[in-house]
Structure formats: structure tokens, C-alpha cells
């Protein structure tokens, strides 16, 4: 079954075409690259469907082309940007870092060659989240990994890139001991394994956001590939997060202070690992993930499906991409005086079709997922009650179940451990919903401010 998608890398479309040509092509076609028809194709021996079809250059250009298309068609990186690459040491983020680096080198060349030097070169930084506080047993591996990352990043210059090693507990405050203590207590109060894993993931994102905004970055590049996103589609479905799913899987996610971009969304894991092998990109995997939760079960399910049909991951992501995205799934318009008007106009912005009436203002304070109105309707009934009740009401149903403790007193305690910006979001949201209600009845209000009545 051909999947008829340009993003699909299973090669089934080409294969069908090739079958058609077989009559005149014959046997000798097998030993040349199907694209350039001159070089010898690469064989990886990894059982992939398009193994031995492309030569090194064509394969590389193909993957990089998908990356570049994603970057340009969504205005992910513009000349005046300062981009932070989230680097875990894994193969996807390694490739993302490499590609961003190549893009930067090219921009630098253009800059030096141009006469008026009107287009600045975008800046690149690298961030690594140190999770030692959450996994004390991994502290030695973590130290080695950080050392390795330091050397990797420094080898990627010029242009020089800042490396930010962020301890995950940094979101809890500046006092490292106290913050670490809070993190451990917070994680310990989550009973569900999957919930713990997800909470850690949310905290990781918060730390990345924190370091990005503190250091003046305006984009966060995350290297999630198709395979990773396919697993996310299914885990989100299984956790009852169908409403917020479409927010997570778009190329751009600007609900955060620093917009997140996913330039490798259209590349499957197999391509990425192949590229690492080809280019000799070294990676480091830290065994942080648990082996027994929902997330793990879903990943192995997707792996089985992918084996059965090499385009399955693409199909899953494509299905989810058909869901209506949110208003924040595009880079916000800016009046940037640093970029010439012509360039600004040239920037393609993917015109997302989203239904204006489907916008939401409320986000879950834990996972930052947009809330379905039907789930969050009881928010206003909690006027003057405990903070923990408000927290419960403000969360999405999935976080309520798998992260929040079920009984009142431990919930109270749990909310006292939460980082300040999660808590502040709860309060913020209450004000927001008040403002929303006010907006609705605005035309009937006589005074601009209720306080004036008294």
C-alpha cells in the first residue's frame, strides 16, 4: 500500500514506481543509487525497507532536506533569532544539533560573502538537562555524559556555541540543596510510575524554558523525530489526552514563553540512526527511563507495528496531524526591525487552518496541555477554598489521575512541593477565567472597574 506522502520514508511509493520500470531497468539497476543513478548505494544491514537504495550523499541530502523544509516552511529560524538546541545526547538531538550547526555555518558564509551584511547570523546555544537529582544512581554516568557533551559542543565551532548544563531541580529555586529536596519529595509523592515519568518530563521542559528565557534565546529546538511523535500520539490517546494531543505534535508550539520547534518531525528514527552511523556522530544514552510504564508499553507496540509495516509511524503521525491544531501552533508574528522587510515577507509561515472558535485560554498547570472546556468548567466554583482544591480543579483529567495524589492531605503537601511557576499558573488561570467571563458580558457593564462602584 503506497502511503502517497512526501514525508513518508518507507520508500513504498518509489518502490511501486520502480516495479513499473523493472522491465527496462533490469538487474544492473540494483547496484546504483536510485536517485542520482551514478553512485554506489549504501547498505546498512539494519533490515530497513530502503536499505541499499540511496548513495551516501543522496541519503544525507534527503534527510537534511526534510529538516530544512520544516525549518523554512514554518519560519522556525530567522536571521535575528537566538536558538537553543535541547541536547540529550541521544541520536535525534545529536542530528538536530548537527543540522542546526550546518545551517549556521551556511548563514555565516553568506554573511561574510554579502556586501552590506544586512542579514545577521542566528545564534546557537546548547542545553543539557542534568537529571542526577532524580536518578542519583546515574550520577557517575551523568558526569561522564556532561564531559562528553562539552567536548562535542566545543568541537562544533566556529561559530562558538554556549553550553548550558541545567540541573533539573533548578526550577524549584536557586538554593540547590533545598531545590533537590523538593524535587525528590515531589517525585516521591506520585504513586503512578507513568505519572512520575511524565512529571519529570514536564519539569525537564520547564528547566529548558527557564534556561532559554534567562539567557535570551527566542527558540527552543527539540529533536523529536517521527517515531517519537508516533509513540506520543498513542500514549496521549491512551491517557485520555485526545483534546490536547494536536497541540503537541505540530512543527511549532508557541504556548511556551520560548516557542518550541520540532524540525525533525518528518524524519523517522531509522534515518536518524543511519545518519549518525554515516557521519560518525557519537551519541550517549542514559538509562533514565523506566521499563514498566504505559510509555514503555506503547513504544514497544509501535516498534512491533513499524516492523510489520515500515510506514506505520508516518501514518500515525499523519493521522494526528489531521486533527485541528491550536492557535499557538505557529511562530507569532513579530515586528523585528533587525530583519529587513523583504526577508520578513519572504518568510513562509505555514498557514494553519484552525478554527477560531475552538481557542482555549486555560492550560493544565502541570503538563501545560490546553484544557477542554467540559473538563475545566468547575474551575470557577472554587472561589475561596484550599490551594490544593484549586490545583485539582485546574489540572487536566490525565494529570489528576496519574500525577496528583488522590487524598486531600497529600494533595496539599504535593502542591507545596510544586515549582513556583506551576503554582503561579494556577492563580493566573483563575484571573484569566474571570477576565474571560468579563469579556463575555463587557457590553452590559457600565463601569470599567467594579471597584469604582464602592
Amino acid at each position: 500500500m503506497a502511503c502517497n506522502s512526501s514525508g513518508c520514508e518507507s520508500g513504498c511509493y518509489d518502490r511501486e514506481k520502480e516495479n513499473g520500470n523493472n522491465v527496462d531497468g533490469g538487474v544492473n539497476q540494483e547496484s546504483v543509487c536510485v536517485k542520482c543513478k551514478c553512485n554506489e548505494p549504501m547498505t546498512f544491514g539494519d533490515g530497513g525497507s530502503d536499505d541499499g537504495r540511496f548513495c551516501t550523499d543522496c541519503f544525507r541530502n534527503n534527510v537534511f532536506g526534510k529538516f530544512r523544509l520544516a525549518v523554512t516552511s514554518h519560519a522556525m529560524i530567522t536571521p535575528s533569532d537566538n536558538v537553543l538546541v535541547a541536547f540529550s545526547g541521544g541520536s535525534s538531538s545529536r542530528v538536530a544539533l548537527q543540522f542546526v550547526h550546518e545551517l549556521q555555518i551556511k548563514a555565516l558564509k553568506n554573511y561574510e560573502a554579502s556586501r552590506d551584511r544586512s542579514l545577521p547570523v542566528f545564534g546557537v546555544g546548547v542545553a543539557f538537562v542534568d537529571e542526577t537529582a532524580a536518578f542519583p544512581t546515574l550520577s557517575k554516568e551523568m558526569i561522564d555524559a556532561i564531559e562528553w557533551i562539552r567536548s562535542t559542543v566545543s568541537s562544533l565551532s566556529p561559530p562558538a556555541k554556549d553550553l548550558h548544563v541545567v540541573p533539573i531541580e533548578s526550577v524549584f529555586g536557586s538554593d540547590s540543596l533545598e531545590a533537590r529536596d523538593k524535587l525528590v519529595k515531589l517525585l516521591d509523592s506520585v504513586a503512578d510510575d507513568t505519572g512520575k515519568e511524565d512529571l519529570l518530563q514536564h519539569l525537564k521542559m520547564l528547566s529548558l524554558q527557564k534556561v532559554a528565557s534567562e539567557n535570551g534565546y527566542n527558540r527552543l529546538v527539540v529533536g523529536s523525530c517521527t517515531s517519537r511523535i508516533a509513540s506520543h500520539v498513542l500514549t496521549a490517546t491512551v491517557k485520555g489526552r485526545g483534546y490536547s494531543l494536536s497541540a503537541d505534535i505540530q512543527h511549532v508550539d508557541a504556548r511556551w514563553k520560548v516557542p518550541i520547534v520540532l524540525p525533525l518531525r518528518d524524519c523517522v528514527r531509522q534515518e536518524i540512526t543511519r545518519l549518525c552511523v554515516l557521519d560518525g556522530l557519537k551519541t550517549v544514552e542514559l538509562a533514565c527511563r523506566s521499563q514498566c510504564g504505559i510509555n514503555d508499553l506503547v513504544s514497544s507496540f509501535v516498534a512491533v507495528l513499524q516492523e510489520e509495516n515500515p510506514s506505520r509511524e508516518c501514518t500515525i503521525v499523519r493521522t494526528a496531524a489531521k486533527l485541528t491544531p491550536f492557535y499557538f501552533n505557529k511562530i507569532p508574528e513579530t515586528d523585528d526591525s533587525n530583519v529587513p522587510l523583504a526577508t520578513q515577507r519572504r518568510l513562509k509561515r505555514f498557514n494553519l487552518k484552525y478554527d477560531g472558535s475552538m481557542t482555549t485560554e486555560a492550560f493544565c498547570p502541570i503538563c501545560n496541555g490546553p484544557l477542554n472546556r467540559s473538563d475545566s468548567s468547575d474551575l470557577d466554583t472554587f472561589e475561596d477554598c484550599h490551594e490544593s482544591d484549586v490545583l485539582y480543579a485546574a489540572c487536566c483529567s490525565s494529570c489528576r489521575f496519574q500525577i496528583l495524589p488522590q487524598d486531600g492531605s497529600s494533595l496539599e503537601q504535593f502542591s507545596s512541593f510544586l515549582p513556583d511557576n506551576m503554582i503561579s499558573q494556577v492563580k493566573h488561570q483563575k484571573v484569566d477565567s474571570q477576565a474571560y467571563l468579563r469579556e463575555k458580558i463587557k457590553d452590559c457593564l457600565l463601569l470599567d472597574n467594579e471597584d469604582e462602584v464602592v
Partner: protein, 358 residues
């Protein structure tokens, strides 16, 4: 066993049902892992279904409702519970059993015996519609002609129409089927895996076909398969549990296995998948095929001929592969090429022929 941990912290002692706190618990409720007694299980099981019926306004008083009855566990429990609730809560429904006789020796003839016993046990009038009467072919004859490949396509297409025709014979207003929560969760997943956004948007609705001749609804939408089995077991209901001889479900598909694994890890996952399915942000502008009627038999069809007539024509002309697989060009043209499309998806789903859970 994530959810189990939270529950097991309860104080020990002479263990009692955690709903009534009086009787000894005899079972762990699959949906919530609560340890409850038999009486409380019956009560929560029936009450949940009652709430689903009331909240979704599935029925109006005075309606005639057919229960698609295969003799299998789902439809048997459905018939039992529905007649019970109808009596208890005065729904004011006229209930009927509707069975389809596909003509499968050694399977359907036996399960029909079960349905006939149910007719007496529950006092519900039974209507049997057979493929032989409607189409002139039994499944046995079809299989003899086309072999064991694609036979489920015939059976499925014919059954859909046969149910509607049977319902028309009974002059009912609605048809209820025994699809359970596991079935629906599986369908949601399969539609994601296949990229079928149109079906994904409708597969979680509790009532379907409201624009068609007879609306169908699924009162067991939120009922776990395991609880249905448990209910049938404790109530000692008379049901038939053999699988179709032409589609031995020994291989139960990745998706079903996956759901069972999920359920073990987190029982709530099944409900969460259904919730996700309901909450997906799908633009309502999806193009729907225009509905017309079949020129040959008058049944609803988006094409010149309905699918059943195309398949039937193929059988009668000795071209059994007609209409199977992905249509290329004019569906109602002459001989159709068989594509592999029909066979590819098989390995990931479980009930290819919907072993009579319709």
C-alpha cells in the same frame, strides 16, 4: 499494577465489600480494581448501563427496539440486562431479539439454538433472518466457492444489510448491538493506525446511522468486556462461546493484545482511549459521501449499486472477486481487479468478521 498499589494501602482486617461494607467480596472489579461482593457487582454493572442509557437518551418510551443477538456473551448479557432494566425502570420499550443466520454449519446453527433458548428465558420475541433467504447463498456455499480468503468481507457486508432488513421486518425504531468498551477502544486505535480520520471522528459516537433507515446504538459503550464475561459467569447466563469456524480468532491481532496489556497495567486506559476518541479536535467539515439508494435492491448506498449487490452479482456470475478490495475506477463497472489492500490491515485488528458481535 499502578492503580493497584494505591488501593492496597487500605487497612487490613476481615475484608468486606468496599461498596456495601457488609458482605465478603468475591471479585475484583476489572474497571476499578475494587473488591466487591456479587450483589454489589450486579448493582453497579446494571446501574452504569442504566445511567448510560438515561444520560445519552438512547430510547424514548414506547419505542420498539431490536437487540442484535448472536448468542455470544455480549449480546446475551445485553438482552438480559436490557429486559431487566426495561422492567425495573419502566423504559416502556418493546424489545425483540434479532438474529442473523449466516448458514455456517457447526457454528451458527448451534449459537442460534442458544438464542432460541434466550427467547424463552427472557420472553423476548425472536426474528431470524437468513442469508439464504435474503441472498440465496449460505456462508458455507460462499466459502466453498471463494475459499477462506475474503470470506469475512462477504459476511460483514451481508450482515450489515441483513440486520437492517430484519429490523425493518420487526418494524423497530432502533437496533442495539453488544459492542463493548474494549471493542470501541480497539476501533479508535485502529483508525489512528490506519489514518482514517473520518471513521475516527464517528467511531466513538454511541448512536450511529441516525440519517439511515434504523439508528443503531451501543449501550455497552463504557462496559468492559471482562465485566460482561464476569456478569454472564456469575448470573450463569446461557451463551455460546465458540468462535466462527471460518475466522478462528486464535490470532487476536496486535491491537487487541495491546489493549489487554494496557488494561493489566492501568484498567482506566480503556475508558481513557474512548475519552480521547470523543475529545479529538476534528473539523466537522469532513466530506461525507452522498447517500442514495441502490438501483437494484433499494437499500441505502452511495454508489449505483450497494456493496451487497455488487458482491452478490459477483457470486452469481461466478466472479467472486468482484467488489473485493480497493475500488479502482467505476465501482459498478465490470470485473474488478483484486488488490492486496483488503489483506494488509488484517494482522493488526482482531475481529475481522466481528464474530457476530456485529
Amino acid at each position: 499494577m499502578e492503580a493497584g498499589e494505591a488501593k492496597s494501602k487500605k487497612p487490613r482486617g476481615p475484608r468486606l465489600c468496599c461498596i456495601c461494607n457488609q458482605r465478603r467480596p468475591v471479585l475484583k472489579r476489572p474497571k476499578t480494581l475494587q473488591q466487591i461482593c456479587r450483589e454489589c457487582f450486579y448493582e453497579v454493572f446494571e446501574e452504569e448501563i442504566h445511567q448510560v442509557i438515561v444520560k445519552n437518551r438512547l430510547f424514548k418510551s414506547g419505542e420498539r427496539v431490536a437487540i442484535g443477538a448472536s448468542g455470544g456473551k455480549d449480546s446475551t448479557v445485553l438482552a438480559y440486562v436490557l429486559s431487566e432494566l426495561n422492567r425495573r425502570h419502566n423504559y416502556g420499550l418493546d424489545l425483540f431479539l434479532l438474529s442473523i443466520d449466516e448458514g455456517i454449519t457447526g457454528y451458527r446453527d448451534d449459537s442460534l439454538e442458544t438464542v432460541k433458548r434466550n427467547e424463552v428465558q427472557y420472553g423476548l420475541p425472536l426474528q431470524i433472518v437468513s442469508y439464504k433467504d435474503l441472498y440465496g447463498w449460505t456462508m458455507d456455499e460462499i466459502v466453498k466457492m471463494i475459499g477462506l480468503k475474503n470470506n469475512c468481507t462477504f459476511c460483514g457486508v451481508f450482515r450489515r444489510q441483513a440486520l437492517d432488513r430484519g429490523a425493518a421486518l420487526l418494524k423497530v425504531d432502533k437496533l442495539v448491538t453488544g459492542h463493548n468498551a474494549d471493542d470501541i477502544a480497539e476501533t479508535v486505535l485502529l483508525n489512528i493506525l490506519r489514518g482514517d480520520i473520518a471513521r475516527l471522528s464517528r467511531c466513538t459516537s454511541i448512536t450511529t446511522g441516525e440519517d439511515g433507515p434504523i439508528p443503531r446504538c451501543k449501550p455497552f459503550k463504557y462496559t468492559y468486556e471482562k465485566e460482561i464475561v464476569m456478569y454472564a459467569y456469575f448470573k450463569k447466563l446461557d451463551y455460546f462461546s465458540t468462535e466462527c469456524i471460518y475466522s478462528p480468532n486464535a490470532y487476536r491481532g496486535f491491537a487487541r493484545e495491546f489493549i489487554k496489556d494496557l488494561e493489566r497495567l492501568r484498567p482506566r486506559a480503556i475508558l481513557d482511549i474512548i475519552k480521547s476518541g470523543e475529545d479529538f479536535r476534528i473539523a466537522t467539515t469532513t466530506k461525507m459521501p452522498e447517500q442514495g439508494t441502490c438501483e437494484r435492491c433499494g437499500y441505502i448506498s452511495s454508489q449505483k449499486w450497494c456493496k451487497a449487490c455488487v458482491l452478490l452479482e459477483g457470486l452469481n456470475r461466478g466472479l467472486p472477486k468482484m467488489g473485493i478490495g480497493r475500488p479502482r475506477g467505476n465501482l459498478n463497472g465490470d470485473h474488478k481487479k483484486v488488490t492486496k489492500a483488503g489483506a494488509t490491515a488484517k494482522s493488526i485488528e482482531s475481529k475481522q468478521c466481528g464474530s457476530l458481535d456485529f
